[in-house]
């Protein structure tokens, strides 16, 4: 695992962004929670309401909370105008702040409630005003407990901040998500190690402040505070010196193919003299809106995805009609330019182990329907909510014995281990070939097509330099080439490549550069 030590030094900018994000969230949470705690100590209703709300927030998974701010901010644009960022720092800050509220608020409220009533009576009886009572008695006596709450909040926030990656905010989650998707465990471990190290360092420094406050040891309190401030300032400085003019931002969803294509696109743009930035590991749901709002500039999306999720269509007019309709719709509704199709499909398909398929006599979805009640079907977390699944289920009358969700990477392992009999595979996935899986035929044509499309944000839709640099990719990637690149990244032996290496290899196999292939040969 010496690879980890090679990766760690390169995480400096992620660490800086992580520190700035976490510190901002905790700082903001303190600004909200502490006055609220004072108010709560004077009103039972406020105390109960504030604590219930903060607890409620805790019950929302951090990942969902982060994602929820995207539509919220998008709708707030009606009030604050188009300049309101919907991805990146702002939503991450808001979600993490909400998350950090509870421990700070609860400790502050509890500390106030547990103050010695005799001391409070004395404060009143010596003639303190409310403000003097707060600053001279309540605050200093509550401070160690409040500090303990801030410590808890800090550890939680630093951990949860890794999830900010999914909404386009750079953090130590970047290597974790990238590593998880490409099964690069050194990358995952490096990210975890860095964020755990940061959490431990913060916890210890804040502990010094807490003990300093409790023992009234000023040098400990101020020393701890100085160290924390120094760390935050260093991160701010590192970030400030890194920010330059606006670059071209390339989005990637959370799977290997997206990472590889982002690198492929990035390499071409860099060769053409552009500065690029990668926004990896974005949630699938946010990529399209991020592109339409120019929060990211380039994405690769799939016809079937746009068709069902954004055009809200459930019909299947055929591959060409679907593409043309999307292209026209994107230009009209979002000012997004669909530059062209890359040449391969990443469609949903049902795959089985070949021995199992043979044993059960299954070659098509129609055959599958007969034996389905005895089988377990595995899908990615969104699959069983998607209209494709509903369409296929209804077309063939599929009714499985058991339904299970897996992260895309682990779906294939589940198939190998027998935890699933059938999975919702993707046609461009390298493991179909590597694992010698059988892709079941779809005689009724229930599954829509998923042509990979190169899409440009309104901001660069007319940028001729970008278009010229990327045009050669249109129609240039065969499904075999894509599978091979995906496999190279997903495999776990010594021939494993990073997305960047795989992109470089893929670049050498581009075919018929520059021409939209028109009707493509189906590779299902």
């Amino acid at each position: 695992m010496s690879a980890i030590w090679d990766i760690l030094p390169g995480l400096g900018d992620k660490l800086a962004a992580h520190v700035v994000l976490s510190a901002s969230a905790i700082g903001l949470a303190m600004l909200i929670a502490l006055p609220l705690a004072v108010w709560a100590s004077r009103s039972q209703i406020v105390a109960r309401l504030a604590l219930s709300l903060a607890s409620l927030v805790q019950t929302i998974p951090a990942l969902a909370l982060l994602a929820l701010f995207f539509p919220l901010l998008l709708s707030l644009r009606a009030v604050f105008g188009e300049g309101l960022p919907t991805l990146g720092f702002l939503p991450a800050l808001m979600a993490l702040t909400l998350y950090a509220l509870l421990p700070i608020l609860r400790n502050a409220v509890t500390a106030q409630a547990n103050l010695d009533p005799g001391v409070l009576e004395a404060a009143d009886s010596v003639g303190m005003t409310k403000w003097q009572k707060l600053t001279l008695v309540e605050a200093p006596l509550s401070a160690p407990f409040i500090m303990a709450g801030i410590r808890t909040a800090s550890v939680w926030t630093i951990g949860a901040a890794t999830l900010a990656t999914t909404i386009g905010q750079t953090s130590l989650g970047d290597p974790i998500f990238a590593g998880l998707q490409t099964q690069n465990w050194a990358l995952v471990l490096a990210g975890c190690l860095a964020s755990a190290g940061l959490a431990l360092a913060a916890d210890n420094l804040l502990w010094v402040i807490e003990v300093g406050l409790a023992k009234r040891a000023r040098w400990m309190t101020f020393g701890g505070m100085a160290a924390v401030m120094l760390g935050i300032l260093a991160a701010l400085w590192a970030q400030g010196s890194a920010s330059e003019e606006r670059r071209i931002v390339i989005a990637a969803k959370q799977f290997s193919e997206q990472y590889i294509l982002a690198q492929l696109i990035g390499a071409r743009l860099e060769a053409a003299g552009y500065a690029v930035e990668y926004r990896d590991g974005l949630g699938s749901a946010v990529v399209h809106s991020a592109l339409a709002s120019s929060n990211v500039d380039i994405s690769v999306d799939y016809t079937g995805t746009i068709w069902t999720n954004y055009l809200k269509r459930t019909d299947n007019p055929g591959r060409e009609a679907m593409y043309e309709t999307i292209r026209e719709w994107e230009a009209r509704e979002n000012e997004v330019k669909v530059l062209g199709r890359l040449g391969f499909e990443n469609a949903y398909a049902f795959a089985m182990r070949s021995d199992r398929a043979r044993e059960l006599g299954v070659a098509s979805l129609a055959d599958l329907a007969v034996v389905a009640p005895q089988l377990t079907v595995g899908g990615d977390p969104e699959f069983f909510e998607r209209p494709e699944w509903i369409a296929v289920r209804d077309a063939y009358g599929l009714s499985f014995g058991k339904t299970r969700n897996f992260a895309p990477t682990f779906m294939y392992n589940a198939l190998q281990s027998g935890e699933a009999d059938v999975i919702s595979a993707y046609t461009s996935d390298g493991r179909i070939a590597a694992d010698r899986l059988v892709v079941l035929e779809d005689p009724k044509g229930a599954l829509p097509s998923y042509d990979a499309m190169l899409m440009l944000s309104p901001r660069i839709a007319a940028d001729e330099g970008v278009i010229a640099a990327l045009q050669p990719l249109v129609g240039a990637i065969s499904v075999e080439a894509m599978r091979e690149a995906n496999l190279a990244v997903d495999r776990e032996d010594e021939r494993k490549l990073t997305p960047k290496q795989a992109a470089a290899a893929l670049a050498k196999t581009l075919r018929r550069p520059g021409l939209d292939p028109g009707p493509l040969s189906s590779e299902k």
């Binding site: 010695d116 009533p117 005799g118 001391v119 409070l120 009576e121 004395a122 404060a123 009143d124 009886s125 010596v126 003639g127 303190m128 005003t129 003097q132 001279l136 008695v137 200093p140 006596l141 009234r216």
Partner: protein, 257 residues
């Protein structure tokens, strides 16, 4: 000779908590320089009545006048700086040294208490001035209550209120501190109102004893008057306890002799 203006007047002062009546209309006047004990059983309303003076409790009916002014119309912080308050819980600020605790009242108005004055106050309550730099949790219960008295005296109050000030102390400390307070009362020319449930303490320290029962004032006598049978049934029941104890002790001593 004209009677001086009373320092403190209760004018039908009452306090109810919902339907429960803690103080049911008390009227009396307290002259400057007097040492008044407020005696009664638990729940008789004596603490509530006392706290109406420095508005820790506000009356639901009637008025309390301090030097002729309704206390509820005075800014509470300003009023409380003129009224020293000592109570059973002491309430020393645990994060402040003894000196800081004593100096807190003047500090609130922006005055700094000189170290000599703090030493003087500590000596007044018979504490070593070297204790000034200690923290409250390093002191014994008796020492803490003495610091509490010093803190109450630091602002040179016009009136000293004490709510069961010695209730949590051992009998020896309690007796010594009681005598000390009485001595300071005379030496500093204070007006003192002390709440206690101990009639013996009231009789020995005060020059006027008010007896409360179920929120009402049932007796207003001098210690001499109470000992000679005045004040009515409730007051006499309270006086009977220490008197009987004293008689029994005298009997025992008689038999031993």
């Amino acid at each position: 000779m004209t009677t001086p203006q009373p320092l403190l007047v209760f004018d039908g002062a009452a306090r109810a908590y919902g339907r429960a009546v803690a103080v049911a209309g008390v009227s009396c006047a307290i002259q400057p320089g007097s040492f008044v004990a407020l005696v009664g059983a638990s729940g008789s309303g004596k603490s509530t009545l006392l706290k109406m003076v420095n508005t820790l409790v506000t009356p639901t009916d009637g008025r309390v006048l301090f030097r002729g002014e309704d206390v509820t119309t005075l800014p509470p912080a300003r009023l409380r700086r003129r009224v020293g308050y000592v109570f059973q819980g002491v309430g020393l600020f645990p994060h402040m040294s003894v000196a800081e605790n004593i100096a807190i009242g003047p500090r609130l108005t922006g005055d700094k208490l000189a170290p000599e004055r703090i030493a003087e106050l500590l000596q007044l309550v018979e504490l070593d001035p070297a204790l000034a730099r200690r923290m409250p949790d390093e002191l014994s219960g008796g020492q803490r209550q003495r610091v509490g008295v010093a803190r109450a005296l630091a602002g040179e109050p016009e009136l000293l209120l004490m709510d069961e000030p010695f209730g949590a102390l051992d009998p020896v400390t309690r007796d010594a501190l009681g005598r000390k307070v009485r001595e300071l009362h005379a030496a500093l020319g204070l007006t003192t109102v002390m709440v206690t449930h101990d009639m013996a303490e009231a009789l020995l320290l005060a020059d006027r004893v008010l007896v409360m029962d179920a929120g009402r004032l049932v007796a207003d006598e001098t210690p001499q008057g109470l000992l000679t049978g005045a004040g009515g049934e409730v007051a006499q029941r309270l006086v009977a306890v220490p008197r009987e104890q004293a008689e029994r002790l005298a009997d025992m001593e008689g038999r031993l002799a």
